[in-house]
Amino acid sequence: MTDPVLSLSDVRLSLAGNAGMVDILRDITLDVAKGETVGLVGPSGSGKSSLLMLMGGLERASSGSVLALGHDLTGLGEDALARFRREHMGVVFQSFHLIPTMTALENVATPLELAGVPDAFDRAAAELAMVGLADRVDHYPSQMSGGEQQRVALARAAAPRPDILLADEPTGNLDGSTGEAIMDLLFGLRDRHGATLVLVTHARELAERCDRVIRLRDGAIDAASQAQAAE
């Protein structure tokens, strides 16, 4: 395996709950190679999304190290993490998380602007056209369907041409055919930009399209996929 794009070593995540500290993730050791597509699967509450958030620097590990493109995310501050994400990562959520006060075009252009891209709006418009929303650029999220909102979210994640695409159940809130279309788009974007893709999913057919599937149970990588994870 070439140098991994993502490398997690002995990662532990504990959060304060009502009954004291709760272990969300434990002993996570995992490498993701450049260009690879990894599916994270497991029952609800197994820690899939938390693991994805750790990879994106959106959550901070309690112990262990999270390396992304050779940078240890656990050692970076909030703003350094934000800068790292805008240069190297795109994130797609189950609930889209578009900014309600911005149009589709503005939502997609925002990460480009933050990254200082000079033709942010042109690129955002092109990205929206690519996901089939050329005629909805001036619509606000509240004026679009769930499928359309997720397409905007995909365009927004892909627009800065990230090295790593993280997707948290991107079809979880969508019906079957819409979800399928979104997945086609997601994989299409991965192929076009040559990005590494890590996605959390419950959908078996989606998991089957991944190069590798890692199963989580009770906050740890399932023994059966442990060997694969360490590859």
């Binding site: 959106l58 703003d79 934000a82 805008r86 998380h97 309600p100 252009a109 990460p111």
Partner: protein, 844 residues
């Protein structure tokens, strides 16, 4: 039936506590508390005046005369009805102190008393001593007591000697409290108290001198005061007397307190309107959070009425709670601060719990709460059961059903009507309401304008790549933004402040800034006929004196118009309140403009004729040919109105409402008044020269009088500012409420932006910029609205020219920007420090 079920559901819903209603309760209770507190203070003063009526008046009844003492038969009548009679004489004079060759002079309001004074109450002196002993004097000189202000100004101390007219007095003590001090109303000089008999050789009470007498009566216990008043009118009819009794010991003060109180209640209502914005926003936010519950209720079979009633009951319970908190605060605050308030009042106040002002405040609060919650409540009707499945949120736009628009208009009419009736200031209430409505509409339009501009601005090419500015503008212009609520609440509060700022500065400016340019240096009164020629010659010879104007001056009361009591024709016009200055002359004054009728010939010797000030005549409904009965020095003069003329009082020059032909007043003892226009630097020397030559005359320095008037106005302005403070605090709470309500949205936005790579600095700049934009928009509208209100009040109420006052206006905008910025930044802290993963996961 549905109300019963609705109440049960409401009770279950309210078990969740008052979270989300803090702003609602704060806005409502603060508005009600301000109105209740003002009303309670007003009522307390009213009760105090009534309770202490006899002390303030100086007797159970008082008979006032102008220019003269009571005739023996009048005095005999008084003694026949009263157990005790005390005679008071009141006039202005100059207190003079000679020290080491220098002479100090100070204007003073002299009160000559007899041994019976005071019939009621107690005179407090420093050092403590009986008044009689103090007025006995020492070293062969009659005694006097003097207000501390004048004692300090003249550099005197008890035991020193000073002079009034040609009589020296021994200053026995400082006058710390004069029991009947408030009844006299506004005086230009501090008080000096002496025995009337000690004035005999002072030369100050010569025939024609401007003085007033007051006979205080102690009536036998159980006397019917109203009946005695009627007896007095019969017995002393036509003698030009003024009757007052303990039922209203200080009519001027009580009227002033009533009017100021009513005005402050109107200011309080403005505060309630500002709070209404917060109340409305809180209810809207609460109901938006209840969309799922409402949709579920409808799924379970609740009809529109049941849902509406469910939330009406909840809001009703909360309104009741807000009213109770407000009333408790409003009733207790005056009691707690009673010693401080009392110390600043010139009259006694009986602080206590009075139901009327509390009921008034509760009425306003209840109506305002209903008015501002009815629209959000009506929107519950639009929520459909299908909302549960389609995840559609209640949209803020749209009009409720016509019936709710009708109910809103009705509530508004009842609220304004109640304010007009209860304040007694119909015109001012209607104009204030109109102003508030106009400001409200302007602010809503301005918010929409700002929103559209921001939306357009966010899309301009110029801002592409400037993500912070574009995001801030996009947020201000985007859907569901807090633009309207912030601009409205802050703008309304700032508009009230800006209006008060403009009115205050114009009020002070009109007197303190503009008047001195045209006003004379001195008003001189009590110039005897035989002194006039010398007086004028002396001043004409002085090169520092620019102009001297003089006119004969008497005082009289208009008692009848066309044979009927004057008030029946002219109502309670101020010209009929007490006595007025009257002059006479052969020819119209220089530059006088006769607007109707003709002036009498120079040699006219027929029946008395009078020329009346045109504006006042019109207000009183006078016409040429009307007959006025004017009581001068106890003698009735019937005069025909033969001309109207313009009189300009704004220059502080000599201006008389009434001017008669010389023959009408022939033989009546009188003096002259004069105005002296001179260079400021020479004013001191002129005064010294005149005072030495004519010890009996009194010169009033116009600049001092202006200062005194400005002081009084400053006090009024301070009271109004305190009233407006409640509005400002309410505005602040609404603003904080709006900022707090936006925290959830900002936290989410910050989390998404961080995910996209935004640093905390850029997010903070974004939040700060949008707060600043909203604050500036509200401030600018406030300047315009405040300016228009200021212009309207100065032009139509105060009848003076309006000058835009930029300093207070700019301060208002700055305050607006800073307040929103501060609120925005304080509430940005949480969103900035939240971890994006947790925020975003919570929304999954």
């Amino acid at each position: 039936m549905s109300l019963k079920i609705a109440s049960r559901i409401a009770a279950r819903e309210l078990r969740g506590g008052l979270r989300g209603f803090r702003v609602f309760l704060a806005c409502l209770s603060l508005g009600v508390a301000a109105i209740a507190a003002v009303g309670t203070v007003r009522e307390s003063i009213g009760q105090g005046l009534q309770r202490e009526g006899a002390v303030i008046l100086g007797g159970d009844a008082a008979i006032g005369l102008t220019y003269r003492f009571a005739e023996p038969e009048e005095r005999a009548w008084m003694e026949s009805v009263a157990d005790e009679v005390s005679e008071i004489v009141d006039f202005r004079s100059m207190a003079v102190v000679e020290r080491d060759g220098d002479t100090e002079r100070g204007l003073t309001q002299v009160k000559g008393v007899d041994a019976a004074y005071p019939i009621y109450g107690e005179t407090v002196l420093e050092p403590e001593m009986p008044l009689a002993a103090a007025l006995d004097g020492a070293g062969g000189l009659p005694g006097a007591v003097m207000d501390r202000v004048l004692v300090d100004r003249l550099g005197l101390a008890p035991g020193d000697t000073f002079r009034m007219g040609t009589q020296d007095f021994h200053l026995s003590a400082i006058l710390a409290r004069e029991p009947d001090g408030a009844a006299g109303g506004f005086g230009l000089g501090p008080r000096t108290l002496v025995r009337t008999e000690a004035l005999a050789d002072s030369g100050l009470l010569q025939p024609g001198t401007l003085f007033e007498t007051s006979y205080r009566l102690r009536l036998p216990p159980g006397t019917d005061v109203a009946q005695t008043a009627a007896l007095a009118e019969n017995a002393l009819d036509g003698a030009g007397l003024r009757w007052q009794d303990r039922r209203n010991g200080a009519p001027g003060v009580s009227e002033f307190v009533d009017r100021l109180g009513a005005f402050l209640v109107l200011v309080g209502l403005a505060g309630l309107a500002v709070g209404g914005v917060g109340v409305s926003a809180a209810v809207r936010a609460y109901l938006e959070g209840k969309t799922g519950v409402i949709a579920t209720l409808k799924t379970l079979g609740a009809d529109r009425a049941t849902v509406f009633q469910t939330y009406l009951v909840q809001i009703g319970v909360l309104t009741l709670l807000g009213l109770l908190i407000g009333l408790a605060l409003g009733a207790l605050a005056p009691l707690i601060f009673a010693p401080i308030i009392e110390a600043r009042l010139p009259v006694p106040a009986a602080f206590g719990l009075y139901p009327r002002p509390l009921a008034e405040a509760a009425l306003y609060g209840g109506l305002a709460a209903l008015l501002f919650t009815i629209w959000p409540l009506a929107r519950t009707e639009d929520i459909r059961a299908a909302t549960l499945f389609r995840d559609a949120a209640v949209r803020a736009g749209g009009w409720p059903r016509p019936v709710w628009i009708g109910v809103t208009l009705l509530l508004l009419a009842v609220l304004i009507g109640a304010a007009a009736i209860l304040s007694g200031l119909l015109t001012l209430t209607l104009w204030s309401a109109l102003g508030m409505l106009a400001a409200f509409v302007t602010l809503v339009l301005a918010a929409e304008g700002v929103r559209r501009l921001a939306r357009r601005g966010a899309r301009t090419r110029a801002l592409r790549g400037r993500s912070t500015a574009r995001m801030a503008l996009g947020s201000v212009g985007g859907p569901g933004a807090e633009t309207t609520s912030v601009v409205l609440s802050l703008g309304l509060g700032l508009s009230v402040l800006a209006a008060i700022g403009q009115i205050d500065s114009n009020l002070r400016g009109a007197i303190a800034r503009d008047l001195p340019d045209v006003a004379p240096s001195y008003f001189v009164v009590d110039i005897q006929n035989d002194q006039l020629e010398g007086f004028r010659a002396r001043l004409d010879a002085n090169p520092a004196v620019e102009t001297v104007e003089s006119a004969p001056m008497l005082r009289g009361i208009i008692t009848q118009i066309n044979g009927r009591p004057a008030a029946e024709t002219a109502g309670d016009h101020w010209v009929l309140e007490g006595d007025r200055g009257i002059t006479y002359s052969e020819a119209p004054p220089d530059g006088a403009v006769i607007t109707a009728g003709t002036w009498w010939d120079a040699d006219y010797s027929g029946p008395p004729q009078v020329s009346f000030a045109a504006e006042e005549a019109e207000e009183m409904g006078l016409e040429l040919g009307d007959m006025l009965t004017i009581n001068v020095l106890g003698r009735d003069i019937d005069a025909e109105v033969t001309s109207f003329r313009e009189v300009d009082f704004s220059t502080a020059g000599i201006g008389f409402i009434l001017s008669m032909n010389p023959g009408a007043l022939a033989g009546a003892p009188h003096t002259h008044i004069a105005t002296v226009y001179a260079e400021e630097a020479a004013e001191g020397a002129i005064l010294r020269d005149l005072a030495e030559a004519y010890p009996n005359i009194t010169a009033i320095r116009v600049r001092d009088a202006i200062d005194r008037v400005t002081d009084v106005l400053g006090g009024i302005a301070a009271a109004v500012t305190y009233g407006a403070l409640a509005t400002l605090i309410t505005g602040g709470i609404v603003l904080i409420g709006a900022a707090a309500a936006g925290v959830r949205a900002r936290t989410y936005e910050a989390a998404v932006l961080k995910t996209l790579g935004a640093t905390r600095g850029s997010i903070l700049a974004n939040f700060a910029l949008r707060s600043g934009l909203l604050g500036a928009a509200a401030g600018i509208v406030a300047i315009i609205a405040g300016g228009i209100a200021g212009w309207a009040v100065t032009t139509f109420v105060m009848n003076t020219d309006y000058v835009f006052e930029p300093v207070s206006a700019i301060s208002i905008v700055a305050a607006g920007v800073l307040a929103t910025l501060a609120a925005g930044l304080v509430f940005a802290w949480g969103p900035l420090s939240a971890r994006p993963a947790r925020v975003l996961r919570a929304r999954e």
